[in-house]
Symmetry: none
Subunit: 248 residues, 2 copies
DNA sequence: CCGCTTTGTCCGCGTTTCGTAAGGATTCGA
DNA sequence: TCGAATCCTTACGAAACGCGGACAAAGCGG
């Protein structure tokens, strides 16, 4: 857990830093550069739009409070013509603010004062996501289930399952981590990507998922409830072994 | 009842405590230990680097003011070869200081004098973020028992045991620390995560646990009472040995 | 622009859990 | 053997927990 091989796949990625406070900008720039990223800098919203069009960065780090147009508005406008990931910086940690940020189309969110280390970690994690999506994962089977992550298809016993996006993500997560209990908070972070949120969201999605993958949803045999701890995807040990091959 | 839930997934994580003031170190060590962490200690920067390399702790608690090289510098150097989370301790609460600390790569920050309880909370929260999808704990056997902590499953002689959350946590604790006496207060802190509380809580939970794991609960052979001292989980040395293999 | 689906939130209900208290049993020392 | 300290046992009830149903907002495709 402690030793992250400097991800060569992530090196030399181009990052556009939008920040009007010179001090903050300097710190962020230095850290991102020493993490191996190429950093461009602008200080207001209009330059941002221009720069994104011209330079096509791999990610935008966007201050929420900007001279001229607001960060959320910038983000919204970016979204009209590009899918470039946006990491939003904000002074406030209020939930409302966070919601606003994500609503405007940001991919992640960081509250000031932030640790530059955290910034780098987040940037890496976002980029990794987008990289991972482009590198196809090999399909694998576990128990009666077969997951083709890159095609976003799952089947049970040969019959394809019709899952919604969230249901698919959740099932995929469990298939990749069988026989392990996850509490709702962890699921919220790992599958939803939220740092905080209503835990009943998980309860409900689990229920909906069960209705589609379990014979009798009220007596789950795969996605079981572990009282007071969370949920676990149960699979025979033998199956789990053979499945683990596929994961690696 | 009043305290945070004991987090079995975080238990037994290795923490390196870097602090030159023996008084502070002692308090911190005791609290971290009774929260279920394994604590190593060093008192200066060079030892820190060495120890991190050698022991690979899961987290470093680092005093900012150290003899020899300064804490921020130590942190910076750590960052050149590892991403181990760092929690920085400092005497000053000045914002500038905080910024410095975070810039050097610390994950969080705690100003002295701090409450040991706060320390434990911070440590937990940092680990929780980083642990998440990390490697699940390997299952192991001890005597007739088999514990799979990440699946939250235990069995005795092959038969799965149906335990409640608390019962599981308690048994897991004893399985990880066999042939060792624990008084009720320690159990309350380590398993329940409480600083204060009614000790009869343990008595009752032990009794409930015994009913499920002992052939004859009133003549316990595994979870035995040590009069005037606490409880101990008895297992043949030979079994304990073989069990230790599994742990490694 | 309008339906349909997805998805998050809320509420009420039944179940399980777990702390607490109180009385009985056991151990230990004198 | 007696008394005090310690531990066991039992029972109760509040609180926690998970579940299903329903609803509304947002997203999506036509």
């Amino acid at each position: 857990m402690t030793q992250p091989p400097p991800d060569s796949a992530l090196r030399d990625r181009r990052i556009l830093l939008v920040e009007d406070d010179p001090t903050v900008a300097e710190v962020a720039r230095n850290y991102l550069r020493s993490a191996g990223f190429l950093v461009d800098e602008v200080t207001d919203g209009f330059q941002t739009i221009d720069s994104v069009t011209a330079v096509r960065p791999d990610l935008v780090v966007l201050d929420r409070k900007l001279p001229g147009i607001d960060g959320t508005e910038v983000c919204r406008r970016l979204r009209t013509f590009t899918d470039v990931p946006v990491l939003m910086l904000t002074a406030l940690s209020a939930t409302e603010d966070r919601i606003d940020g994500l609503e405007s189309g940001a991919d992640d969110y960081l509250t000031k004062p932030f640790s530059p280390r955290e910034l780098v970690l987040r940037v890496r994690s976002i980029l990794k996501r987008t990289v991972d999506e482009s590198t196809p994962e090999a399909p694998f089977a576990l128990g009666p289930f077969r997951l083709d992550a890159s095609a976003r298809k799952v089947s049970r016993g040969g019959d394809p399952l019709e899952l919604s996006a969230r249901e698919f993500d959740l099932l995929a997560f469990f298939l990749k981590h069988p026989n392990q209990v996850f509490d709702r908070e962890t699921l919220l972070r790992s599958v939803w990507g939220w740092e905080v949120g209503d835990l009943s969201t998980i309860t409900v999605t689990v229920r909906r998922l069960r209705e589609k993958i379990e014979g009798d949803p009220s007596h789950a045999t795969f996605l079981t409830t572990v009282w007071g701890a969370g949920y676990r995807f149960d699979v025979e040990e033998a199956d789990a072994e053979s499945a683990a091959e596929g994961v690696r």
